[in-house]
Structures are given as C-alpha cells and as structure tokens.
C-alpha cells in the first residue's frame, strides 16, 4: 500500500476515533442533560464522517474503483442526528430535567416545553 494513502487513512481514522471518544467523554462528563446533548450529537457526526472517509479511501484503493457507499451512512446520520437531538431535548424538557444553574434563559425551557412563544 502506498505510504500516503496509508497515512491519510490513518489520520482520518485516528481523527475520527478521537472525535468519537470526545463525544462520549462529553456524554459522560458534562454537567446537565442539555450540555451532554451537545457532545455526542455533534462529535459523532464528524467522528463518523472521518471514519467513513477513511473507509472510503481505503476501499477505493483496495477495490480499484470508487467506493462511495459510505457516504450514505453519513447522509443518514446527518439527516437523523438533529431530529434525535430535538426529540431528546423535548423529552428532557417534558421531564423538566434539572438544568445547570448557571444556564441563562432557563425560563425559556418552560416556554419551549409548552411550545409557546417566549
């Protein structure tokens, strides 16, 4: 395998891995649900993106033709991740989960819960 391909793939892989991990770290360590929500929904998209790009490059190289079907996974993730986040946020507001005290505009969450205007 050519070095630069290996390099690129490795870089993408490790980057992806790191983002995936960061997402999960965020999930594990951030102080309240709403902040935790940020970690995975974003970091994983990029993390996954990197991994999939690595996979794409490698597969293209190995199979000798353009392998792009990994894009489809990314597409799915990009479409669904926001809805997941939205639904989870709705759930959290519905359960009136404790919001970190220093969050500004806390009262907005109550308005949002009722889907009223602020």
């Amino acid at each position: 395998m050519e070095f630069w391909i290996e390099l690129v793939v490795s870089v993408f892989l490790v980057a992806g891995g790191i983002f995936v991990l960061i997402g999960s770290i965020g999930l594990a360590k951030l102080p309240d649900f709403y902040t935790r929500l940020h970690g995975p929904t974003k970091a994983t998209t990029l993390g996954m993106g990197c991994l999939l790009i690595a996979s794409m490059i490698l597969a293209t190289y190995q199979q000798g033709y353009l392998s792009v079907h990994e894009l489809l996974i990314t597409l799915f993730l990009l479409i669904t991740a926001p809805v997941t986040a939205h639904m989870l946020a709705k759930t959290a507001m519905h359960h009136e989960l404790e919001i970190l005290d220093r969050t500004s505009g806390k009262e907005l969450s109550k308005r949002a819960r009722e889907r009223m205007n602020p």
Partner: protein, 167 residues
C-alpha cells in the same frame, strides 16, 4: 406557495434524482444494468410513496443549495473542534443557555432544515419549535453573545434557506 400540477409519473423529481444517485452509491457502480434498475426504482418508489409526502415548496436554486451544504459542512467541522475543546476543558467554565430565535420562514421543510442545521453546527441544539412555528428554541453549550448568535443563525442559515425555497 405555488403548487403546479406535476407529471403524474414523476411526482417528485428531486426525490427521484436523489434515489437514483443513492442507488448507484449503494451499489458502488455505474454499470448499465444498475442504471436501468436505479432509474426504474427512482421512478417507482416515489410513485408508491407520493401519498406519504406532504406537499412542500420545491428547491429552486441548485447552486445556492450546494453553497449552503458546503457552508454547513464547513461549520460542522469547525463546530466539532470548538465543542471538542469545550468538552475536554473544565465544564465549570461553560455558560450554557436557552435562547429563542424568531423565525421568518414558514414552511415545515425549511424550518426543519434550519433546525437541523442549527443542531449540526457549533454548540447549539434545536430544542423546540413553537407551536405557531414562529420561534426556534435553541440550547447553547457556551453562550458568549446571545444577540450575535441569533443574528448569525438568521443571517447565515435562514437567509440562504429562504432563498433556496423561494419563500
């Protein structure tokens, strides 16, 4: 919003196009057999599912769309780095916030896309949309300037979307 009568066999041309591309993506091929099959599927599946689609304003500006997509991808990348820093740093330094973004666009699809974009980009998650679809509630991981953020959302994402959907 104008709803033109469409060619019955092609109720959703954009869908058909996407499906056709996705088919080729899935199969990793441009073999003639798959082109025929993909074409066939791209025609029939929308026919089958057209009943399941609420009519939405169509895309009118392919170029603007592309530009928007690229911009969002760029933002996602940046956002991820920022969020990464925030996550790895001390969580005591975070100043999270709820904000309400007033919306100008009205249709469901553009609003959904806007909310999705917001969720995908730096430190913001669309938490809720008001029942009258006039407000987007956003949770911000680390708020520095509320008005600036609102303005940036409106200008950076809502504007182009209004342009794309001609509404």
């Amino acid at each position: 919003m104008k709803t033109k009568p469409r060619f019955r066999l092609l109720p959703m041309p954009l869908h058909s196009l996407i499906l056709f591309v996705v088919w080729l993506l899935l199969n990793n091929t441009v073999a003639p057999g798959h082109i025929v099959l993909g074409g066939f599927l791209a025609l029939t599946i929308p026919l089958l599912t057209s009943g399941m689609q609420n009519t939405q304003p169509g895309f009118r500006k392919p170029l603007a769309t592309l530009r928007y997509v690229l911009m969002v991808i760029g933002d996602i990348i940046v956002a991820n780095f920022e969020v990464a820093m925030l996550v790895l740093g001390s969580s005591k330094k975070l100043s999270p916030a709820f904000i309400a973004v007033p919306l100008n666009i009205e249709h469901e699809l553009p609003i959904t896309i806007l909310a999705s974009t917001v969720s995908l980009t730096p430190g913001t998650v669309s938490a809720e949309i008001s029942a009258d679809k006039k407000w987007l509630y956003v949770h911000v991981l680390n708020l520095t300037d509320k008005d600036e953020l609102i303005a940036s959302i409106k200008q950076r994402y809502e504007q182009p979307l209004m342009e794309i959907f001609e509404c």
